[in-house]
C-alpha cells in the first residue's frame, strides 16, 4: 500500500470535496474586497502604465494599439499569478502551517477530495480575479466584442493548469521560501517569453520554439484574439495543451501530496 504505485493511483473522490471548496470560498468571501483589489491593482497598473506609456513609442503591434495588444496578455498572466499564489502560499498555509487539511482528513473526507477541492478553488479564485480584470479592460473599451465573454472559460482552464502546477510545488515545499525559486525561475521567465508584453515573433527562433510550448503562451494565444473580437486560430490545440498540462500536473501533484501526508 505504501509503494510508489499506490501514491500515483487515480483519485478516489466524493462530493464532500464541495464542502472543502466551500470552506475556502467562505474565507475568501470575508476578505473578498482586499483580495480582488490585490489581484486587480497590480496588473491593471502595469497594463495602463505600459500600455499608454510605451504605447506612445510603439504605435501599433500586430495591427492594434499597444494597450489593446497588452490587454489579452495581462488577463492571461494575471490569471496565472492568481492561481499560482493561491495554490502555493494559501495552499501551503492550509496544508502545513494551519493544519487545516489534517483536521479535514479526520472527517469523512479523503486527501484526494481535499487536493481536488484546492485545485478547483485556486482556479475559481483566479477566475474571479480574471473576471474583475476583464471588467476593467472592458470599461476601458478594450474588450468590446461579445466574444470577450468566451475568455472566461479559458481563464478558468488557465487557472486549473497553473493551480495544478502550483500544487506540485506545494507538495514539495519545505517552507514558504521555496516558492521564491518557482517564481524567479519559472513564472517570471514564462511571463516574459509567452507573448504577454511583446509578440513571440521578436524572440530568437530557438527560444521561440521552446516558448511556444509554455502553458502561458497557449492561454495568451486564446485570450488575446477573443478580447480583440476574433476567433483564435488552432483553438483546439491550445485548449488541449492547457487541459493536458492541467491533468498531468494534477496527477503528479496528487501523488506527491499523498506521499508527503499519508505516511
Amino acid at each position: 500500500m505504501t509503494s510508489v504505485t499506490s501514491h500515483f493511483a487515480p483519485p478516489r473522490l466524493s462530493l464532500r470535496l464541495l464542502a472543502v471548496w466551500r470552506r475556502n470560498f467562505l474565507v475568501w468571501r470575508k476578505l473578498a474586497l482586499p483580495s480582488i483589489v490585490g489581484n486587480l491593482a497590480d496588473p491593471v497598473i502595469y497594463m495602463l502604465g505600459l500600455g499608454y506609456g510605451l504605447g506612445m513609442l510603439v504605435p501599433e503591434v500586430e495591427g492594434v494599439s499597444y494597450i489593446a495588444f497588452l490587454a489579452g496578455g495581462t488577463l492571461a498572466y494575471s490569471t496565472m499569478n492568481a492561481a499560482t499564489f493561491e495554490a502555493l502560499y494559501s495552499g501551503f498555509s492550509r496544508m502545513h502551517t494551519q493544519k487545516t487539511w489534517e483536521a479535514i482528513m479526520n472527517a469523512p473526507v479523503s486527501l484526494d477530495d481535499i487536493v481536488v477541492a484546492e485545485l478547483l478553488w485556486a482556479a475559481s479564485k483566479a477566475c474571479l480575479a480574471g473576471i474583475a480584470i476583464l471588467a476593467v479592460i472592458a470599461a476601458f473599451g478594450f474588450a468590446a466584442s461579445p466574444l470577450a465573454l468566451a475568455a472566461i472559460p479559458v481563464i478558468f482552464l488557465t487557472g486549473l493548469c497553473f493551480a495544478a502546477l502550483g500544487l506540485i510545488m506545494t507538495a514539495l515545499a519545505p517552507s514558504y521560501d521555496f516558492f521564491m525559486y518557482y517564481f524567479t525561475l519559472v513564472i517570471t521567465p514564462m511571463t516574459l517569453l509567452s507573448g504577454v508584453f511583446f509578440p513571440q515573433g521578436q524572440l530568437p527562433d530557438a527560444v521561440r520554439a521552446v516558448a511556444e510550448w509554455l502553458p502561458l503562451s497557449h492561454a495568451v494565444a486564446l485570450v488575446r484574439p477573443l478580447l480583440l473580437g476574433e476567433l483564435p486560430t488552432q483553438a483546439g490545440l491550445h485548449l488541449a495543451v492547457l487541459a493536458g498540462i492541467a491533468i498531468a500536473a494534477f496527477w503528479l501533484a496528487l501523488g506527491l501530496t499523498r506521499k508527503r501526508l499519508l505516511k
Binding site: M1, T2, S6, S14, R16, A19, V20, R22, R23, L26, V27, K30, L31, Q98, K99, T100, E102, A103, I104, M105, N106, A107, P108, V109, S110, L262, K263
Partner: protein, 311 residues
C-alpha cells in the same frame, strides 16, 4: 460491537535496510462505553497507531476495524462516526467559533440548519458560552483545545479519539477537559486517548495500555496494572548521611531492605511490600531524607519504559 479492534498491527516507515518499525504487532480491543488510555513516552508509536486506526496511513500488516468497518477499505464511512481531537491545534483562524463548528460539520455532510441550533449547546459543553462570534486568535490555549473538543462532537460520535488532549494546558483547563470527558463516557461515548500524564490516565481510564517501542507492555485497569507490575510501596531516598549519598547508601544496603531499588542520579527508589524495616533503618540516619508513598502508575511506567530521556 467493539468501537475499535486492532490486531497484529505493524507499521514500518521506509523500505529495505533503512526501514524503521514504529508499531510492532499491536493488539487492542475497546469495550463500548469505556475510556481507554494509551500511555507511552514520546516516539512509542501512539500517534502512528491512531493514524492507522483512522485510515490516514496504511498499515504494513495487521487488521483494523473501526466502528465495525474494515480500515482502510471503509475508513471514510467509519470516520463519519468518530470524533478526533488532534494533538496540534488545527482550528480555522479565519473563522469565528460558530463558523468553525458549522464548516466542520459540512465535512460530515451535515446541513447548516441542522447544526446551527446545536451550536450554543456545543459551545456550552466546551465552557465557551456566548463565544459564537469570537475570533480564534482571541482564545487562550485552553479555550482552543475545548473548541476543538466541541468540533469533534459535531457529528455525535460513537467513539472519541483524543491525542494528548491536555498537553500544554494549565491545571484549571485540564480539570475542565477531564470533567467533560467523564460526562461523555457517562452518556455512553467510548473514549480512546493518548497521554503521557499518568494522573490523567489514572483518573479517567477504565483501562489502559502502556506502550513503548511499538509494543504494548502492560494492559488492564490502572489498579490491575499497578498490582501486576510493581511492589505496592515506594520509599524515595535522597540527601546524605556521614558523607554517604543516597546512591552509595543504596549500593550498600538496599538489597537487604527492599525487593527492588532503582537509583536515578542522587535519588534511590526502593520498592517493597513492607516498608517498616526500611523506615526503621532510615530513622537511624537522619541525614537521609525519605518519602514513603503507595506505588502508582508512574512507577510502573518508569519500570517498563526505563528512566532514559526519549527526545
Amino acid at each position: 460491537m467493539s468501537p475499535l479492534e486492532i490486531s497484529g498491527l505493524v507499521k514500518r516507515f521506509g523500505e529495505g535496510p533503512d526501514a524503521r518499525e514504529v508499531v510492532r504487532g499491536l493488539d487492542l480491543q475497546l469495550i463500548p462505553g469505556e475510556c481507554f488510555a494509551l500511555l507511552g513516552p514520546n516516539g512509542a508509536g501512539k500517534t502512528t497507531t491512531l493514524r492507522c486506526a483512522l485510515g490516514l496511513t496504511a498499515a504494513s500488516a495487521g487488521s483494523i476495524r473501526l466502528c465495525g468497518l474494515p480500515v482502510p477499505e471503509r475508513a471514510r464511512d467509519a470516520r463519519a462516526r468518530v470524533g478526533v481531537v488532534p494533538q496540534l491545534d488545527s482550528l480555522d483562524p479565519d473563522f469565528t467559533c460558530a463558523e468553525n463548528l458549522l464548516v466542520f460539520a459540512g465535512y460530515f455532510g451535515l446541513p447548516e440548519r441542522e447544526v446551527r441550533p446545536r451550536i450554543p449547546e456545543l459551545l456550552a459543553f466546551a465552557g465557551l458560552e456566548g463565544k459564537e462570534n469570537a475570533r480564534i486568535q482571541s482564545l487562550s490555549g485552553g479555550m482552543k483545545r475545548r473548541l476543538t473538543l466541541a468540533r469533534a462532537l459535531v457529528n455525535r460520535p460513537e467513539l472519541l479519539i483524543l491525542d494528548e488532549p491536555t498537553t500544554g494546558l494549565d491545571p484549571q483547563a485540564r480539570h475542565l477537559i477531564w470533567e467533560r470527558l467523564r460526562r461523555l463516557t457517562a452518556e455512553g461515548t467510548t473514549i480512546l486517548l493518548t497521554t503521557h500524564f499518568m494522573d490523567e490516565a489514572e483518573r479517567l481510564a477504565n483501562r489502559l495500555a502502556i506502550m513503548d517501542a511499538g509494543r504494548i507492555l502492560a494492559q488492564g485497569s490502572p489498579r490491575e496494572v499497578i498490582a501486576a507490575h510493581i511492589e505496592p510501596q515506594v520509599v524515595e531516598i535522597f540527601g546524605e548521611w556521614q558523607g554517604e549519598g543516597a546512591a552509595a547508601w543504596a549500593a550498600a544496603h538496599a538489597h537487604a531492605l527492599c525487593q527492588r531499588c532503582e537509583v536515578s542520579g542522587e535519588t534511590a527508589f526502593c520498592y517493597t511490600t513492607d516498608a517498616a524495616p526500611l523506615l526503621a533503618h532510615l530513622a537511624q540516619r537522619p541525614g537521609l531524607r525519605s518519602l514513603h508513598r503507595p506505588a502508582n502508575l508512574e512507577d510502573v511506567f518508569l519500570k517498563l519504559t526505563g528512566r532514559d530521556l526519549r527526545d
